[in-house]
């Protein structure tokens, strides 16, 4: 006779315990990180004129990975001189030839994908599944995509010709080090510019490893130069007189100072800054998939995403349901060693960022929002923060307004579509938004009403090299990717 288990209606809880615990599954491929990296100037690694190096540590366990050269003004100048010298021949190269280099770079990156994924995870703390399945393949995809543009520049804008700008100074952030490098380098090279690139000081390693790919691809010396260092190095990159354009991705605060510094210099500028993205859930949305979208939106890369869906706006009628579904979902989200293939949320990038997250979370609690964190054991060494939900958040709370850049979700409610749009737009940012509803017409109406550069419908964090990415208001200016991104790296000349 089959056993009929009697049920106990009182205990309607799902148990996510350790009956079948996954064994540790650490990625074991070597990352080939050098003990010390110089600056990559004119096709070669050179020692910095400052003779100074700084340590790069892994947020995973706070262990030192490598020593990185600190570039001073003289080093940055050398990089610009090399880039300027290389510009003459690089910009005259036929598009078909530049395309070959880009293709070669993309293929070499694919060949070494595993190695780069491991290095990215060690250096930045993101889960290996993300660097393996997202960062590295997307970086390669951007080079492939722009290789396709390089020989078609004559057809992008009928009646007008695209010409390169010159030497471009590029400063990239620490959240997607390799991918942001690809977003910046690929369009600049496709359009015939040469580059001085500065990675973030906590995550320079994959950029410096990437220099070896440029060497293997036979890219002419000086076309890409990589200088490493912190804010002062960045300022030297921004203020160098040879720069024709500055492309910056990072915080709104630094973006504003760059814009001030460039005022009146005639240098072009694109900025990709912060965000406080509203993810809007209507009552008719497919709730379980919306929950997945919310989880992906805020916990992807530990929330270190400028377009992270950090402000959840839920229609009041389903707010309770969404919150309880989110709490259940958090129980099976695995936080821990980013090198483990089963980790969903990895390490916070740096001590400084961890401190900022802690400060803002404490502020949320003090302001009266309701905190929820699942029971999860965090590694003892390294920088970790548990996935966090704040419910009962009001628009006036700091956690509803400031970009936290961590795995912290603020949940607000709304009653009508108009109120949703109003609350979503009530921010200084305008980068992205998410809309979840089963009603197609509402998606169209909301996407027109939302002041955001990107609106995702019934999905979140979707990226493609062909799709322009960027925001407005304090989220920046200019686009990256697609035809629009390409045009930001070129002058348009009227053809007689």
């Amino acid at each position: 006779m089959p056993v009929k288990k009697s049920t106990c209606p009182a205990a309607r809880e799902l148990l996510f315990g350790d009956l079948w615990e996954y064994d540790p599954a650490p990625e074991s491929a070597p990352a080939f990180i050098e003990p010390r990296y110089g600056l990559f100037i004119n096709g070669k690694f050179v020692a910095p004129k400052t003779k100074k190096y700084f340590d790069s540590i892994s947020p995973r366990n706070e262990e030192k990975l490598s020593e990185i050269a600190l570039a001073g003004a003289a080093d940055v100048d050398a990089a610009y001189q090399a880039a300027s010298a290389a510009f003459t021949s690089w910009s005259k190269l036929p598009g078909t030839e530049r395309a070959k280099y880009l293709f070669r770079i993309a293929r070499l990156l694919q060949d070494r994908a595993r190695e780069f994924a491991v290095a990215e995870t060690l250096d930045g703390g993101k889960p290996i599944t993300e660097s393996r399945d997202f960062d590295v393949p997307m970086a390669a995809a951007h080079f492939f995509y722009h290789a396709g543009w390089a020989d078609k520049l004559g057809y992008v804008t009928p009646g007008r010709k695209l010409t390169p700008l010159g030497v471009v100074g590029q400063i990239i952030p620490w959240n997607f080090p390799l991918l942001m490098l690809a977003w910046k380098l690929a369009p600049a090279l496709a359009t015939g510019n040469t580059v001085v690139l500065k990675p973030a000081e906590t995550t320079s390693i994959t950029a410096l490893k990437f220099a070896s790919i440029l060497q293997d691809a036979g890219l002419p010396p000086g076309v890409v130069n990589i200088v490493t260092g912190a804010g002062e190095t960045g300022a030297a990159v921004v203020n160098h007189p040879l720069a024709a354009k500055i492309a910056f991705t990072g915080s709104t605060e630094v973006g504003k100072s760059i814009q001030r510094a460039l005022a009146g210099t005639g240098k072009r500028l694109t900025l990709e800054l912060g965000g406080k993205t509203a993810n809007i859930i209507f009552e008719d949305a497919p709730l379980d998939q919306a929950v997945e979208g919310i989880i992906n939106g805020i916990f992807f890369n530990q929330g270190h995403v400028c377009c992270a869906g950090s402000r959840l706006l839920v229609q009041e009628s389903v707010a309770g349901q969404i919150l309880s579904k989110l709490k259940i979902r958090l129980k099976s989200l695995r936080t821990g060693d980013p090198l483990d293939k089963n980790t969903d949320v990895g390490a916070i990038n740096s001590q400084a960022q961890l401190d900022r997250i802690r400060e803002l979370v404490a502020c949320g609690v003090a302001e009266g929002a309701e905190l929820y964190q699942p029971d999860c054991e965090l590694p003892k060494k390294g920088f970790y923060f548990p996935p966090t939900l704040f419910s009962k958040v009001a628009m006036s709370h700091r956690i509803a307004r400031d970009e936290i850049f961590g795995p912290v979700l603020s949940i607000l409610t709304f009653r009508t579509p108009e109120e949703a749009g109003e609350k979503a737009n009530n921010t200084c940012y305008g980068l992205s938004a998410g809309v979840w509803t089963d009603k197609g017409s509402r998606i169209l109406k909301m996407s027109a009403a939302l002041k955001a550069g990107i609106v995702w419908a019934n999905s979140f964090n979707k990226f493609d090299p062909a799709s322009p990415f960027g925001g407005y208001r304090e989220s920046g200016l200019g686009r990256e990717g697609g035809k629009q991104g390409l045009l930001d790296y070129a002058n348009l000349i009227q053809v007689p």
């Binding site: 006779m1 089959p2 056993v3 009929k4 288990k5 009697s6 049920t7 106990c8 209606p9 009182a10 205990a11 309607r12 799902l14 148990l15 996510f16 315990g17 350790d18 009956l19 079948w20 615990e21 996954y22 064994d23 540790p24 599954a25 599944t129 399945d133 008719d284 497919p286 709730l287 379980d288 998939q289 919306a290 997945e292 979208g293 129980k331 099976s332 293939k341 089963n342 089963d438 019934n458 999905s459």
Partner: protein, 311 residues
Amino acid sequence: MSTRNFHALRGLLNDVGAVDQVGIDERVAKFATRSIKKNAKVFGLKLAVTMVDLTTLEGKDTPGKIASLCQKALRPHDATDIPPTAAVCVYPSMVKHAAKHLRGTPVKIASVAAAFPSSQTPLRTRIAEVRAAVADGADEIDMVINRGAFLAGELQLVQDEISAVLEACGDRTLKVILETSELETYDNIRAASFLAMRVLRPGDFIKTSTGKTSANATPGNNQVMLEAIRDHFLATGIEIAMKPAGGIRTAKQALHFLVAVKETLGDAWLTNTRYRFGASALLNDLVRQLVKEKTGAYQAPYTFSESSSAY
């Protein structure tokens, strides 16, 4: 189709909520990235063996074939640490032959019944078939819903027929096959899951497929049904069990289905009273992997046949 019936389906969907296909497919793709190694793998493989409903549903089935299938179910391999399967699953005419080998053992006898796989016979015929299978010793009855009625919007009829079969089962476990490939959309699969669950008892199953159509259990429809079971449990406290069937041939697939169970319904469903695999070839791949884990090497391909007709 009458307007009222259309509203019945729409109303049910409004009640139980819609499903987004892209979202489900993304979710299940994540399960497949879980890395199951070492002890976790051995545990998962053994668990999967205990969940197999070892199935033969062929016109050419004979008492002899059933006998060897039953032996295989009781003792999947000469290694004694490999447990028996949950059940064998046979046509009603074979139940009495299976009973000779399985009575008094932990392996249950499941029988498809109620005009499997089409369900296109009069209800009284289907009921009679169920009663006959039960009388011959079936512990579990696998019935398939009236898809024609479902797609015509006759939801009440679908549910009433399930109730009638349930009554004919007596105290035996019922498994309700939705035949997901014929319902086609995830919305329909979710709606049909609720239609069945609302008349089922705790411990009864919902099941994806008959294995007789072109598409059978997929990670996607498995996930839709697991989430329906979870929502029904949280709303009512009734624990419905789940059985994906057809198309799960490899140990790796089975482990990914189990990851979905672990991360959607939790530990309480990681048992063969709550989760089963309707499969035949799967068992030998599970055994193959278990032997590999023990010896460190894959055995020659002919050691474990791919074809269940050679069990």
